[in-house]
């Protein structure tokens, strides 16, 4: 088979820090090529170069040569890449929030009326909205989704956004090379499998796919070849069937990872929070009539298929969506759902949308970590009597932040580095470090390990266990990673259609969980 893409001696550095060094890589036609690596190993940089992201040109371009279909190319903008037939599904979604699902899927290749095509040219031709929506719905049905395509993107949940982003790329006729950055990270296992089937079918049709994923089982299952990156260098390459997951994991980290696991225990303390007929009106992830009691000091897992409400609970407590029903927290009734009041009361929510809701991207790591602690609880101020004139105690905050950076192994040049320059996993570590700073009594963690490599994942899970054990923080983890929940939770609540369907012990079998997730009683 011919090579569709050849990369020779590719190097790239950001202001002196090498991100990629001397990469040689070839992708064949019709191949699914896996790329794995820890956070900050250079995978995203490679994708950005191939897709012509503006950030590459702004930071001085790259060295080395790239050949696409035998021709040497130097991609300067995303529109150039798209014209050549390269498509990309972004880890952090490149969907336009104010446009509808249908408009997003068809963006750039809208159907237009033939008459106005001839009159004004295709660019200024009138769009046939009805037909566009029909096309978009048809593409989504291929992905087994039935969605009203006239809903705006900003009103949809993350899982659905992922499918829409995929639909946008799949809908392209001229697509030759598809770059997938963590396409299954936001999906649960079942949706993930579905997606993999679709990808394999497309590859049989001659499409080349570069597949980046942290789920090594998936990589092992579908990729024809796998390349491992570590610290910006290409470490190893395997053919399908000639490697084990441990090979990949070992190459990625350079050493073996030990999995986080909490010892089993029975928690029957007093309840810290109980929900009665609780509703959260989050479109696509609605919670209806939820009853749940959480005991002080436990780690409760919350899982469901996508769209059944596991994500909405945290958002409800942040005050982002309207809520109804009764909530008793430490024997007091909560009347107002607002982030600030809840933080003062000791409830903190770790959102799954890190970049949108979790972080101040333009600010430094230090500022991000101390921000809520200082603003709401005044933890890092040096007081001169009048509260409003307080200075930030730089010494205190710096030592606090340095400790956390050390404990969490946050990869950064200094505490003064901007958060937007960090990789996804390290950004998540910053989010958790901030949550820890507040010493919450009740912590909601929503998909805490999404889009994070194995080493960081175990680190994050271990940290959660540790705060639970040492600070007696009650933790509610909403996640679709059942395997992780089973390792660290005391109880796991399975949600179906916005209600708690069953509460299972982490020792329950996969079969029991499978039945509960699909709403079957089982025998």
């Amino acid at each position: 088979m011919k090579n569709i893409l050849e990369i020779k001696k590719l190097s790239k550095s950001y202001s002196g820090n090498p991100a990629l060094t001397n990469i040689n890589l070839a992708i064949k036609e019709g191949e699914i090529h896996g790329i794995v690596g820890a956070n900050g190993s250079g995978k995203s940089t490679l994708m950005n170069i191939l897709f012509g992201s503006p950030v590459i040109q702004e930071t001085g371009g790259y060295e080395g040569e790239i050949f696409f279909q035998g021709k040497k190319i130097n991609i300067k903008s995303c529109s150039e890449a798209i014209r050549m037939g390269i498509g990309m599904v972004h880890q952090e979604f490149a969907l336009i929030p104010d446009m509808t699902a249908g408009e997003n899927i068809k963006l750039g290749r809208e159907r237009t009326y033939k008459f106005t095509d001839r009159l004004f040219g295709r660019r200024y031709s009138f769009i046939n909205k009805k037909q566009d929506y029909e096309d978009a719905a048809k593409i989504l049905r291929k992905l087994n989704m039935n969605l009203d395509v006239s809903i705006k993107i900003m009103n949809l949940s993350t899982n659905i956004k992922q499918f829409i982003e995929l639909a946008r790329e799949i809908g392209r006729q001229d697509l030759k090379l598809l770059l997938l950055d963590e396409p299954t990270a936001v999906l649960n296992k079942k949706d993930g499998l579905e997606l993999i089937n679709i990808l394999q079918e497309m590859a049989r049709g001659g499409l080349s796919i570069i597949f980046i994923s942290h789920r090594l089982e998936e990589v092992q299952q579908i990729c024809d070849r796998v390349t491992v990156f570590r610290d910006g260098k290409l470490v190893s390459q395997y053919q399908k069937g000639k490697f084990s997951i441990n090979n990949l994991a070992g190459d990625m980290i350079g050493h073996l990872v030990s999995k986080a696991a909490a010892e089993k225990r029975e928690i029957k303390g007093r309840p810290i929070i109980s929900l009665k007929r609780f509703h959260v009106k989050m479109p696509g992830e609605e919670i209806k009539d939820m009853d749940l009691t959480v005991f002080k000091g436990e780690i409760l897992g919350l899982t469901s298929l996508s769209g059944h409400g596991k994500l909405a609970l945290g958002y409800g407590f942040m005050g982002l969506y309207p809520v109804e029903g009764e909530v008793f927290y430490e024997n007091q009734k909560l009347t107002k759902m607002e982030a600030k009041t809840n933080i003062i009361k000791g409830i903190y929510v770790l959102p799954d949308d890190r970049q949108g809701l979790g972080l101040l991207l333009e600010h430094t790591i230090e500022e991000n970590i101390i921000f809520p602690g200082n603003q709401i609880k005044n933890m890092f101020s040096r007081s001169f009597g009048l509260k409003i004139l307080d200075f930030i105690d730089r010494k205190k905050s710096l030592s606090h932040v340095q400790n956390l950076i050390h404990d969490f192994q946050i990869k950064c040049t200094s505490p003064k580095q901007k958060v937007k320059e960090l990789s996804g996993g390290n950004q998540q570590k910053v989010c958790i470090a901030r949550a820890l700073t507040l010493k919450p009594k009740l912590l909601f963690a929503t998909e805490p390990t999404r889009g994070v490599d194995i080493a960081a994942k175990e680190k994050i899970l271990n940290m959660l266990i540790e705060i639970n054990r040492t600070q007696n923080t009650t933790i509610i983890i909403a996640s679709s990673e059942l395997d992780e929940l089973k390792r660290i939770c005391d109880r796991i609540a399975v949600m179906v259609e916005g209600k708690v369907f069953k509460i299972l012990s982490p020792d329950s079998s996969d079969l029991e969980f499978g039945l509960a997730l699909s709403g079957e009683e089982g025998t």
Binding site: F51, I96, L107, R123, S125, I151, K281
Partner: protein, 359 residues
């Protein structure tokens, strides 16, 4: 955040939803206009004819603001630059004494040429100040105003040769404060004038304004229009969707400036007198106020906001001085009332609409 399926009734819910919606500002205007009209003592037909005149006078200027808002660049206060472009063209053509249809056509040709060039320049400037477009366009408007005044106060008669002595100040340098547009006055306004009792409908000009509105609606529903909407929503995401953000932004500003030039042309020919140094000055504020009164915000504007807004805003604009005078028995108060209404609208609409954006 609005929820699609939150349809449950309940009168309080409905009131809440109304207060949070884009209908609040127009509704307030409707109520204010009604009471001001009652106090003003004007007849309905008079107000209607006046408002319709304003509609054809200011319509295109208001419409020229819509595309930049959709592109996420906020209110384009630099439409005064487009106005100055067409005024420059007008003065030059009057100076060279080109008359009749050739005159009008050369004004349009020159004006469009100038506004494309100036729009291009403004677009480049705005690409360097992303996120701060509104304040920048205000300052650009001021800057061009002083350049414009310099050219016509000092340039005419010194480095620009004078062919038409009528428009020049008696000292031989500089253009007069007021230039008569006698030869152009109301040339197209009275076309197809339909009279029903005391009510007058200048059908042709109404159609012209609606034609521009339809043109903008059309543009926003083309590929180009979708790209404009995309960059209006999120620059970075539009960029990775394969859209050349900077280029689209420049095109948007050129379009807006050219539309403003046309708008000012209709405005001037309707008035018939041309205040060389002041005619363009309030074009931006009045137009922005009208658009906002119709329910637009600095992040979302639709054609219907523009059209509704012109009617609502100008009704209040026309009746409020008289109402002020009748209420407080003070003739001078009327004029203050007008500027209060204009700036008050902008402030009020901005606050209310931004509150809605944050939902």
């Amino acid at each position: 955040m609005r929820i699609k399926d939150g349809t449950d009734g309940g009168i309080i819910n409905r009131v809440n939803r109304f207060v949070d919606s884009e209908h609040l500002v127009p509704a307030v205007f409707l109520v204010l206009s009604f009471f001001a009209w009652q106090f003003s003592g004007f007849s309905g037909a008079f107000v209607f004819n006046q408002v319709l005149t304003r509609f054809i006078r200011d319509g295109v200027l208001v419409l020229s603001l819509i595309i930049p808002v959709v592109a996420g660049m906020g209110l384009n206060f630099a439409i005064t630059v487009g106005a100055m472009a067409i005024q420059t063209a007008l003065l030059l053509v009057i100076n060279f004494q080109v008359e009749g249809a050739t005159g009008i056509l050369s004004v349009i040709f020159l004006g469009v040429l100038l506004s494309v060039a100036l729009g291009f320049a403004i677009g480049h400037v705005l690409n360097r100040v992303k996120g701060k477009e509104m304040i920048t366009t205000i300052i650009i408007g001021f800057l061009f105003n002083s350049i414009y005044q310099l050219i016509f106060l000092v340039g005419f008669g010194t480095f620009i040769p004078v062919f038409n002595q009528e428009i020049i100040l008696s000292r031989g340098i500089g253009v007069r404060n007021t230039v008569d547009l006698g030869m152009y006055r109301n040339t197209i306004d009275k076309l197809w004038l339909l009279k029903i009792g005391a009510w007058e409908f200048p059908i042709f000009m109404i159609l012209v304004v609606l034609f521009f509105a339809a043109g903008i609606y059309y543009l926003l529903n083309t590929r180009f229009g979708h790209e404009v909407k995309a960059i209006g929503s999120n620059n970075e995401k539009a960029e990775v969707s394969g859209i050349n953000v900077n280029l689209i932004r420049i095109k948007v500003i050129i379009l807006s400036t050219v539309l403003a030039a046309f708008g000012q042309l209709f405005y001037l020919q309707n008035i018939g007198m041309f205040d060389v140094y002041t005619a363009h000055l309030n074009a931006d504020v009045i137009s922005c106020a009208a658009l906002l009164a119709g329910g637009a915000s600095i992040k979302s504007a639709k054609i219907r906001h523009g059209i509704l807004g012109i009617f609502l805003f100008h009704t209040l604009f026309i009746v409020s001085p008289q109402a002020g005078q009748n209420l407080f028995n003070n003739a001078a108060l009327g004029e203050y009332f007008r500027s209060f209404v204009a700036y008050g609208t902008i402030a009020f609409a901005l606050i209310i609409n931004i509150k809605n954006e944050n939902k």
